[in-house]
């Protein structure tokens, strides 16, 4: 019987979530969303797109709102931009409540999913539009437009119509147009979703560079967890109009606060078990095979009875001797992915297949074949008990 001690640390959840106030982290806040509710429709058709959301976004931060479609992330972005107004709550920009202001009075600009470039203007006219509306002198507009064209590497195409440039180029123009008036906060509504894979990868790097060079707070909306993990300083995971967890990509990935977060971000194995005992954020969980394991659980959650453990595929390891593993099963499938290999294990206790991910190296010590009995070992801190 193997017992692995895991999860002795306390989970770190920043900001205030659904009324649970956690001490603020250092750094000034660019945007503070306080108890914002947004209800669409009237009477019986009422739908709460946002259900009392509170979150703080720091200055110069690349902050991502991540969640499946319909989770309220775009609604929250539109409330910050001023296209919709909250049913209740406050939105503070550097301490000032901007929730009742129209969009043209907020020093916030948006990069739209559809880019929304003006088809009757050239690339340069599009970029200069915001400055022109602010009543800036012509010379200043020209200088700034030239600077923005250079920043997004579009100098050669400044006289083109927006219909005469490619999707990736339109994306750059949309970025330049939103950055030109030097907003306090830049909002990006799934800006990369219309691009093909290679261009998307390129623009991800480009966006990070632009954020770094301009020092502007970016609030980025996406449903692509990989995009969120690679680009963000912090991520807010949303579902059904609520923010489930706010944290760094590492926090979110390694220490998900809820089952939904673990399931939505990355691949996860779910293992049923029973809580035997618990103390100081660590629970001892027994499997059907009567093996036990210590697993951490998030603050504010009291695991009892039947629970689900989550283990990332790369945080587990195969051992040839079934008796040496925490749990054991039969290798049912091996899937080769180039950089790594996925081993699907049919557990002895039944249930879903457990996936173990192995990074491939030139010399793999052990080679496995399907059909053999194997044991699965967990790395330290690998297992967590989560709220369903």
């Amino acid at each position: 019987m193997v017992t692995i001690k895991t999860g002795t640390h306390l989970p770190t959840r920043a900001g205030s979530l659904n009324g649970v106030i956690v001490p603020e982290q250092p750094g000034k806040n660019a945007i503070e969303v306080r108890g914002v509710r947004k209800v669409f429709g009237t009477g019986e058709n009422q739908v709460a797109a946002l259900d009392t959301v509170s979150v703080s976004i720091r200055e110069n931060e690349f902050f991502t709102l991540l969640g499946p479609s319909g989770c309220g992330k775009t609604t929250l972005l539109r409330l910050i931009a001023g296209f919709d107004f909250p049913t209740a709550g406050e939105i503070l920009l550097h301490g000032q409540d901007i929730a009742p202001l129209p969009p043209f009075k907020r020093p916030v600009n948006t990069v739209f999913q559809s880019y929304a470039l003006f088809p009757h203007m050239t690339v340069a006219q599009n970029i200069g539009f915001g400055l022109e509306m602010l009543g800036k002198p012509k010379a200043e507009i020209e200088a700034r437009v030239a600077q923005m064209l250079k920043l997004v590497k579009m100098e050669a195409l400044k006289a083109r119509r927006t219909s005469q440039i490619s999707g990736g180029q339109q994306q750059r123009v949309a970025l330049a147009r939103a950055l030109a008036p030097q907003p306090k906060v830049l909002l990006l509504d799934e800006p990369l979703s219309a691009l093909d894979y290679k261009l998307r990868k390129e623009m991800q790097i480009e966006l990070k560079r632009l954020q770094h060079e301009t020092g502007i707070t970016f609030i980025f909306v996406t449903h692509d967890q990989e995009e969120a993990l690679t680009m963000s300083d912090r991520i807010a995971v949303m579902s059904a109009g609520k923010i489930l967890q706010v944290g760094t990509p590492r926090d979110i990935y390694d220490r998900p606060a809820e089952r939904f977060v673990a399931d939505f971000i990355g691949e996860t194995n779910f293992l049923p078990g029973t809580v035997v005992s618990k103390q100081a954020g660590v629970a001892t969980v027994k499997f059907a095979s009567s093996a036990t394991i210590s697993a951490g659980y998030p603050e504010g959650f009291d695991p009892t009875g039947e629970v689900t453990l989550v283990v990332r595929p790369e945080h587990a390891d195969l051992v040839p001797d079934p008796a040496k593993g925490t749990i054991a099963g039969t290798l049912s499938n091996i899937v080769y992915f180039g950089t790594d290999t996925h081993y699907h294990v049919k557990l002895d206790g039944g249930g879903e297949n457990f996936i173990v991910r192995h990074q491939n190296s030139r010399s793999s010590a052990v080679t496995y074949e399907t059909g053999v009995k194997v044991g699965i070992q967990f790395e330290e801190d690998a297992a967590r008990v989560l709220k369903d």
């Binding site: 969009p103 916030v108 559809s114 929304a116 470039l117 088809p119 539009f129």
Partner: protein, 315 residues
């Protein structure tokens, strides 16, 4: 297909078939337009040629023409020949009617645009399911004849009409306000008759407008007024152009409305031309007047289209 291509490598059967298909479909398409072309040829171009020829002939005493070449019809447009010494004297009577008609048509177009744009915008911003009902409502006037509708206006605005009776009944006025047979009546009738022709093309243009562009403009610090002038109006230009043409041209040649509501006192071009073929018994003059109107419209159109299009591009 070149001979070189033939000798070196004969085109594949598929390519040949394709070329044949393209050719035959092009021929078929041309055939499809044939009935319309015949109708336009017989009832559009031929009468125009007749008008053109007649305008250079001499009027017969009881209507019709005498086959004798003359440019009198055109001279008579601006001048009158003195009965005694045959000298030409400048008479601007016809010109004044033309200018007045242009003014009526311009005012009609401008007011229709000002009234029609908000209406069309309202319709285009309704939920899609509601929009067709609004279009249907706009077309209700077309369900009955213009003559009948114009007569109905007459009953509303005449001295013992609905408006005057109501105002007298309420004690606002004690003598009826004369509205019928005035320029006001003509203007009102023209507005009423042509407003739908402005609303419908404006609506079809605004309905295609990407409203995310409006959000983008607001986001980029444009106020409501700036959004209107810098985004909505430039992008609905095709509708504005179409609507203005559809109102201006028929309004200029309006016949029924000024005849009934102007009472034959305040003439417009349409009535003037009609007179030449009726009581005036001067067919060549009528033909010349019609052609002058056409030329004026073409010149006006040329400048209008040159100044409004070209700058507009659809995304």
């Amino acid at each position: 297909m070149t001979t070189a291509a033939l000798s070196s490598a004969p085109p594949s059967k598929a390519a040949l078939f394709e070329a044949k298909a393209v050719k035959s479909s092009a021929r078929r398409n041309r055939l499809l337009s044939l009935p319309a072309l015949i109708i336009i040829g017989i009832f559009g171009v031929l009468p125009l040629i007749i008008i053109c020829v007649y305008s250079f002939l001499v009027a017969a005493p009881y209507g019709g023409v005498q086959w004798q070449f003359s440019t009198d019809a055109y001279l008579n447009f601006l001048f009158q020949r003195d009965i005694f010494d045959d000298t030409l004297q400048f008479t601007p009577d016809f010109l004044i009617i033309y200018l007045r008609s242009f003014l009526f048509a311009v005012v009609t177009t401008v007011i229709c645009l000002l009234l029609g744009f908000p209406t069309a915008y309202f319709m285009a911003t309704r939920p899609p399911a509601q929009r067709n009902w609004w279009v249907l409502l706009i077309t209700i006037p077309f369900w009955s004849n213009l003559l009948v509708r114009t007569l109905a206006i007459m009953f509303i605005i005449r001295d013992e009409g609905l408006i005057n009776n109501a105002l007298i009944g309420l004690g606002v006025i004690d003598k009826p306000i004369t509205m019928l047979y005035t320029n006001f009546a003509i203007q009102l009738g023209l507005l009423y008759a042509f407003l739908p022709f402005m609303v419908l093309p404006l609506y079809s243009s605004l309905e295609k407008l990407d409203f995310r562009l409006i959000e983008a403009a607001y986001d980029l610090y444009a106020t409501r007024r700036q959004v209107l002038w810098r985004v909505i109006i430039p992008l609905s230009k095709p509708g504005i152009i179409a609507g203005c043409l559809l109102v201006f041209i028929p309004a200029l040649g309006a016949y029924v409305t000024p005849l009934i509501l102007g009472g034959g006192i305040h003439l417009m071009i349409g009535d003037l031309i009609a007179q030449q073929f009726g009581s005036g018994r001067n067919w060549p003059l009528g033909c010349a007047q019609a052609l002058i109107l056409m030329a004026a419209v073409l010149v006006a159109l040329y400048f209008y289209v040159r100044n409004t299009s070209g700058k507009v591009q659809h995304g």
